[in-house]
Symmetry: C2
Subunit: 381 residues, 2 copies
């Protein structure tokens, strides 16, 4: 069996690592270069989407910012999962909000902004502070603005107007204005839906971001909001007749959950599943899109993940910490770039906390800020 | 970092799967074709040993039947682990017996046989029944004879003489005669030794063979002979100044262990470690030969392994059994060929037993004989 993945980054690579033992070959389509790549050897296997599409049994995606010119032939092939509707909803906040409304799940109050009049109306109707996000190509904190007081309106709008002018040359850009949510913390739910409608969810994961980029994810077994999150997952997945792994990010506010955004794919906050559960999100995505039964998703060991950003070397004695696993992506280092991640597990939360403290001491602090803020959270899992 | 593996089969492939996330590239040298292969993409990367040796940081092996013409330049490179002495001991039962004597570990009584006079002397000195094994190229039950009564001597020797005549055209073949051990069952110990002498052992594994080929391996936590096996492992590994994963097969006779044979490499009876322990034998072999700290080897979940021989398809609903993992090797099916394996885990032994019974029902019985003989053994683990 052959699976074609749109995108040739680390997510395709980690899918391929799980697919190979199932005798499923993964090829990756690099949307920018138009090349077909072997995600494990990096060998160029060919050029152009058409032939790869013909040869593939299944097509899927590792990211959602894919041009329509690529999505359309994939959708027409009849073998694209989770399909272009889901990918488009993940890549355009306007479609995403419409989907969340249809699924009747709670979100922050929001409105669409195309011009200054819309912007002023948003401030009036939603109140301040506001978060403004570009509709397209926004991820890892890119294309986001905040306004806290009316005096900032002119400056913030000047920034946004400049951004819109630049990006709308190429694409149908827009802005979504959202009421700022003073959330307690952020969680995500990663789950897999099979083509027969069977769904399995991993436990909720608590996520800590630094400068808009995920820094640490901590799997939380038996979180009191797990069932609520699963209901919301189902509402969204059923709207899309979804097949594959879907990730949903939530704000936790007291005992309520608000959907922040969705990712129609395997997700950085699910990387801990490689060590903490029987079947990782990558294995389950491959199983789902290939029509195979899903693997187990329960938390087997208390586990957390730390992202490695911008550097391609770490002290070798890190691996002396028990149950620590390095996952490098084989990429060339650039400042802020996701280069790999560390998974850390333990027998029990107290041991995980101790090992995490040990890890923090060994990591270069300048590349791993704020890790210690997650330490006290481990007591709760 | 780049590791060159001598041999391009499934063991190199499974090492490469574990090495990639460590940003360690594995290349495989196919001893027969003289080609350098990418073990995950099967791409031919080059030809000839010399250049690959120059480019590699570390050289290791996935099997022990390697010609001296290959072993010698590897040894001379100074980066070959576990090194040619260990590989030669694994590939020649005469050297293996000498090693075991030096290490002062118990084995069956044995003697070397070159001609009919030696053969008759072996019958007299060791008694019947006897097991006779070819010194070279013997594995998976190949090159083995048994003699139970004096009347069989002429027939058995005729077979052996014919075998010696054929194989000694190419190699310095010989025969080792061993006293037959009426063992209770067979176990193996897989362990890893780092270049600083640190050793970690997996739990003893009970092995069930059919026609001389491994069929099922069952990890046994807290086996009463674990400590004894570890002592014997250390005695052998220290003799060899061993670096890497080493496997030792034992006969269990009451409360004693007799070494049957050693394998200076990752071993089929350690495949369960991919699911049952934190760091698999493949990960730990890579860590050891690359000079990295070893990963944890304790049994995290009751786990067993079933070999898939001769077929390249199994019912898809196998994957619906919880905690069942398929590991295919991407090979073309031939009768009796090792095509893949199944790992099965559970929360507790009783659950593993139940899942194994479920698995046995789904497997085509003609390709999986005698599995049910292992069912009652699970109660003990």
């Amino acid at each position: 069996m052959k699976v074609l993945v749109l995108g040739a980054g680390q997510l395709a690579r980690m899918m391929a690592l799980e697919a190979l033992p199932l005798n499923i070959d993964v090829e990756a389509f690099d949307v920018r270069s138009d090349q077909i790549i072997h995600p494990l050897s990096q060998q160029v296997l060919g050029e152009g989407l058409q032939q790869a599409l013909r040869e593939a049994d299944v097509v899927t995606a590792e990211f959602e910012h894919i041009p329509l010119s690529v999505l359309e032939p994939c959708q027409q092939s009849g073998k694209f999962f989770p399909g272009s509707t889901a990918i488009l909803a993940g890549g355009d906040r306007r479609r995403e909000k419409a989907l969340l409304q249809q699924a009747e799940v709670s979100t922050a109050a929001f409105c669409l902004v195309k011009n200054r009049a819309d912007f002023d109306a948003a401030i009036t109707s939603l109140g301040l502070p506001l978060v403004l996000k570009s509709a397209l190509e926004g991820y890892d904190g890119k294309g986001q603005w905040r306004i806290k007081s009316p005096e900032q309106a002119d400056d913030v709008w000047a920034d946004i107007a400049q951004f819109l002018k630049q990006s709308s040359k190429k694409i149908n850009q827009g802005i979504v204005a959202e009421q700022f949510i003073p959330f307690d913390y952020e969680v995500s739910l990663v789950g897999a839906r099979a083509n027969d409608g069977q769904v399995k969810w991993y436990p909720l994961t608590e996520n800590h971001h630094v400068n808009g980029v995920l820094s640490v994810s901590l799997a939380r077994a038996q979180h009191p909001l797990q069932a609520k999150a699963e209901q919301m997952f189902n509402a969204i997945a059923e709207q899309l007749n979804y097949v594959g792994v879907l990730a949903i990010e939530f704000f936790v506010v007291g005992d309520t959950l608000l959907v922040n955004e969705i990712a129609p794919r395997v997700h950085n906050s699910g990387h801990w599943t490689q060590q903490g559960s029987d079947s990782s999100q990558f294995a389950n995505h491959i199983r789902a899109v290939c029509g195979l039964p899903l693997g187990e998703t329960n938390l087997q060991r208390p586990t957390l993940m730390v992202n490695i950003l911008g550097i391609d070397q770490l002290p070798e004695n890190l691996l002396a910490i028990p149950e620590l696993h390095l996952h490098w992506y084989g990429k060339t280092a650039r400042p802020g770039r996701k280069m790999g991640h560390i998974n850390l597990s333990a027998e029990a939360p107290a041991q995980l906390k101790q090992r995490f403290a040990q890890l923090i001491k060994l990591l270069p602090a300048e590349h791993f800020p704020e890790l210690e803020t997650m330490l006290p959270r481990i007591a709760d899992i």
